[in-house]
Amino acid sequence: MAIKKYCLVCGGTGCETGKTDAIYRGLLAAADANGISDDIQVVKTGCFGLCEKGPIVKVLPEETFYVGVSPEDTGKIIEEHLVEGRIVDSLLYKVNNKKIKFYQKQKRLVLRNCGVIDPEKINEYIARQGYVALEKVLFELSSEEVLEELKISGLRGRGGAGFPTWLKWKFTAEVESDKKYIVCNADEGDPGAYMDRATLEGDPHSILEAMIIAGKTVNSDHGVIYIRAEYPLAIQRLEIALKQARESGLLGDDILGSGFSFDIEIRLGAGAFVCGEETALLASTEGNRGMPIPKPPFPAVKGLFAKPTVINNVETYANIPLIIEKGGAWFKAIGTEKSPGTKVFALTGKIENSGLVEVPMGTTLREIIFDVGGGIRDGKEFKAVQTGGPSGGVITKDYLDTPIDFDHLTAIGSMMGSGGMIVMDEDDCIVDITKFYMEFCVDESCGKCAPCRIGTKRMHQILGKITSGQATMEDLQKLKDIGLATQKASLCGLGQTAANPVLSTLKYFEEEYLEHIRDGKCRSGKCKDLVTYTIDADKCIGCTVCARKCPVPCIAGERKAPHVIDQSKCIKCGICFDVCKFGAVIVA
């Protein structure tokens, strides 16, 4: 007999420690007892991401969602629901309770088509309201009306700084020029950020549509997508999308018979972080070395090849077709007053469910990390979250309930940045992570201005001293001074924000810096120069596991007798600590 119903039991880590196995067996046994085991299949699944309500059982195909199920409830589910067809009210997930509308915490606008359509088929994009906005812009709306919709929507640039998009477009629209450019900044470079890549790979036509709309609005016929060569799949999909759009007459001369012509070319970047800065990006597009120039003049007036240029980030463009299609007021109603819309975050680090999440602006960090992201991996303690990459800062436990938008993040010393969100737990050393970001800035500084070139190098040096236990209190003061100087005196955004990780961690985790300097201690054990591993002779039973696993090897001792670590040879890899089952290895 064919299967009629499916019972899905959540087998995520949160629920696994609960009673998944008992529930699984309970359902099987109850089905057997009721003689319907041929009609139903019980399945263990991945996490439903609703761990606080677990354990969860879902019945398909009707999608009944039972929460807080105990092994004793399994009989009831089988007898009442599956045999008699009555839903068990007492276990039901109350959808009208606003608080547990888990799925509604995400709102996928930018990612509306990612994971839904085949990105290499223009028809699938068209079927999901693709190029509807373009129709409106070509045949119904005037440039002023498009700008007005964008103004009403309140859309702010998603590249990090949050400048109003309509204003950028308006500046370019108002300038008289024989040539104007539309540029898409797809030079995503923050460590741990991949929102733009996913958008381009999953839904390339949304970017093309937005760029054509921008072209029509400011009267430009030439678009450029600047994308880093490290994104081969995104490039390939963009090329396919461009080809299909040209073949269908959505790009090129006389688009859809409207008389408006526009085409887009792709420029590949070599992967320099500074080229994400708009003036450096334009220089690189022109074929020059990617170095920033002082603003003003802004690119809106004097940009690519000294012509007026609209330059926006991928995620900003991805919002445009929706705003035009559904209206500025519709968009304005999402998110917060000063930051309407949604934001895509790449949630990575010590998080249970790493991935791309898109939430309305104003969602709190707690909701993103603990509800959408499923909390900290392995049940560890949350320490901080790093937002905005090397330009951003850390956000601590105390600020978990801060609503995420441009202004709130700036107020607490971090920034929106492009949307990388790296979660840290108790095992991460804050100084070590700051050193990592500083190293990144040292590598990526273009070297044009001294504050950034020298400042980042010296800050990295001091951080190195701290993590190796050689720093003094004067170094700490010097670190602060150099940080502030770099922030004030640098030419472009890279240098101006390079000290943010230092200044923000000094503000919130000064105690940890002091521990490194004063006590020569690293509480997480990450700074190897400050750590020694010893074996507690009382606890060691001489099982020899550590000696066998030691890669050097530097652990000696007779079987069934306490072992000893030779400190002169120890490389502080920590393997002995990890493998000891008796807690005999001490980290100090």
């Binding site: 799925y103 709102k107 994971g115 068209i126 045949f139 999953g202």
Partner: protein
């Protein structure tokens, strides 16, 4: 494809809407949709894709359509594969390596049973339906 005019684009959109809807409900064919973003490919989506294509070919399952899509945000569960077929609920599988892909063909496509421990839920099912 011939160049579109405004009217042709509108007609095409309506036609394609039907095509995309049909894949959701009454179509008799089996749709296997593999997440092929960089994250999926890095996690081994190509191997899974090859298994589906290979099995469909060797078993002469002519009603199986293997398609690709972008990243749906479940990076911790890549590679992800969605299976849509009549008589079974739409199912999203996570962590699909070559072995699991083979299991999906054997158990789900042929045997009409879900594959244990690999079923995931949509991060935002209601939004996908919107």
């Amino acid at each position: 494809m011939a160049k579109l005019t405004l009217d042709k684009l509108r007609v095409l959109r309506e036609e394609q809407k039907v095509v995309i809807e049909r894949r959701d409900t009454s179509d008799k064919s089996i749709h296997v949709i593999v997440g092929m973003g960089t994250c999926g490919i890095a996690a081994g989506a190509k191997e899974a894709l090859n298994v589906f294509l290979g099995e469909a070919y060797t078993r002469k399952m002519e009603n199986v359509v293997v398609k690709q899509t972008g990243c749906m945000g479940l990076c911790y569960a890549e590679p992800t594969v969605e299976v849509k077929m009549e008589g079974m609920p739409d199912t999203l599988y996570g962590n699909v390596n070559a072995i699991v892909a083979k299991k999906i063909v054997d158990q789900h496509l042929v045997g009409h049973r879900l594959v244990n421990k690999h079923v995931f839920d949509y991060p935002a099912r209601d939004i996908h339906k919107e």
